[in-house]
Amino acid sequence: MRGMRERRGVSGPLRRVATFLAVPVTLILLWEGYKWLWETAGWTWPFPVNDTTMPHLYSIVEAFWQPTTTGGPPLIHPLLHAAWFTAKEAIAGFVLGGIVGFVLAVLLAHFRLLERGLLPFVVGSQTVPILAIAPMVVVGLGSKGVQGWQSVAILAAWLTFFPVAINTLRGLKSPDPRAIELMESYAASQWSVLWRLRVPASLPFIFTALRISATASVIGAIIGETPASIQDGLGGAIVNFNQYYSLEPTFLWATNVVCAALGLVFVALVVVAERVVVRRAPEHFA
């Protein structure tokens, strides 16, 4: 349409890089601009702006190299350890939830009766705000001797299994009835139909769910750690640095940056896996 001129040659990819960089650059400018304007004008709505509430972006970046305790390692070390701890919980839950979801979907696809009976429960399980009961689950299981990280992993698994189950089910049922008739004309067994036709057809659906679940697992892990005061993960780091916010605000911000990065890494891994397995570009919005 109008306004979209095409450029060829070197300016083409250069243009793309420029457009891609334009967004973060704009955001950085917005942040610093807002900060400068609000501080100069002295406005206090919606919240007072100063170096504590809105540290300079470069201060946040600098913070990664600051030691947290006198003579201790720079912030980035404990943060990375915490991230890895949380990541392990999230991965454990993600894998567990994914397997359970997949198996459940296969069962539901093959046994109509089971589907009718169980599907409402499966859907109903999602009306319970899992994140909201996270503290209860972790504290409760903890008092029974279940290790903190395990409860968190279970939480992540719960958040994963539903999208995976529903999407896998949809995917398993998606092949054209005629494709199924073709397999049956080859006297293929149900097992064969499953693995040769239904599962490959359901892969795009599964990956869509996995992308959602990847984020959900990370969120679940962080939330699960926080109220139960599990010190070793990112949730613990958040609670910790929150207490020292007035002394050193940049640490909490840095932790949030790491949380965001963890979420992004997880999703990126799923996207890469999708490209490798399905060998086509993952769905994009709009």
Partner: protein, 246 residues
């Protein structure tokens, strides 16, 4: 179905004498609810206000941004990968920061979290609706001498309503969860999330669960209100009139 679940729950927990810490008997929860109903109700309303406020703010902004991005496609195309990436960020982790901005006891700190959670689903879905227009429709508008504005007014905006409501329904559910979980990071004692957390930490599980049940009910009601609005405004859409639509 739901009744069966309840009965099963009651039966199993009684039969196996499951420790009340994790899954109290429904009757225990009901008792606790009844005993504390006025307290729970007030706390619930407080949190609901945060959720609704966040919903209004976040979704409103989401719709506005979607309109802008649909109108200025180049900007939209540049922003899209970042919007998708933003979905992967655990926004809840920012709760302590909003607490520091607005104050722990200020409901706006939780409203802000709910708002951010509502922004993305609404924005993405509305944008998708605004841009999923049949190309012939655009040609039709141009044949009438209409430009972008006419296309927006007569075609894009009406056809985006079903998509927008999909986003709004997601946001409704997220707003309540966001408010409660945000409160887990700290808040006034008359907030539902805070009281649930406190109950958990003193092992008063029946009352904690009663709080959760109330939160779920509020969440479902909120969703229902949005769904009702959807029904009245988009009854023309195929998904509303087909049998067994998704």
């Amino acid at each position: 179905m739901f009744v069966v679940v309840l009965l099963l729950w009651q039966g199993l927990t009684t039969a196996f004498d499951v420790q009340t810490f994790l899954l109290p008997k429904p009757t225990d929860i009901a008792h606790s609810f009844w005993d504390n109903k006025s307290l729970l109700w007030h706390n619930g309303l407080y949190t609901l206000k945060e959720a609704v406020g966040g919903f209004a703010l976040g979704s409103g902004l989401g719709i506005l941004v979607a309109l802008l991005l649909a109108r200025f496609r180049v900007v939209g195309a540049a922003f899209m990968p970042f919007a998708i990436a933003a979905n992967a960020v655990p926004i809840i982790a920012f709760a302590p920061i909003t607490n520091n901005w607005f104050g722990l006891l200020n409901p706006f700190s939780k409203m802000a979290i709910a708002a951010v959670l509502c922004f993305f689903p609404t924005m993405v879905n509305t944008l998708r609706g605004l841009t999923s227009v049949h190309p012939s429709s655009i040609e039709l508008m141009r044949s009438y001498g209409g430009g972008e504005t006419a296309t927006f007014r007569y075609v894009r905006i009406p056809s985006s309503l079903p998509f927008m409501f999909t986003g709004l329904k997601i946001a409704a559910v997220l707003s309540m969860i966001g408010a409660i979980v945000g409160e887990y990071f700290g808040g006034p004692t008359n907030a539902l999330g805070v009281s649930i957390l406190n109950d958990t930490q003193v092992f008063d599980f029946p009352r904690a669960w009663a709080g959760i049940v109330l939160a779920s009910v509020f969440g479902i009601c909120f969703y229902g209100v949005v769904a009702l609005a959807e029904h009245y405004t988009t009854s023309w859409h195929p998904s509303s009139r087909s049998f067994g639509g998704e």
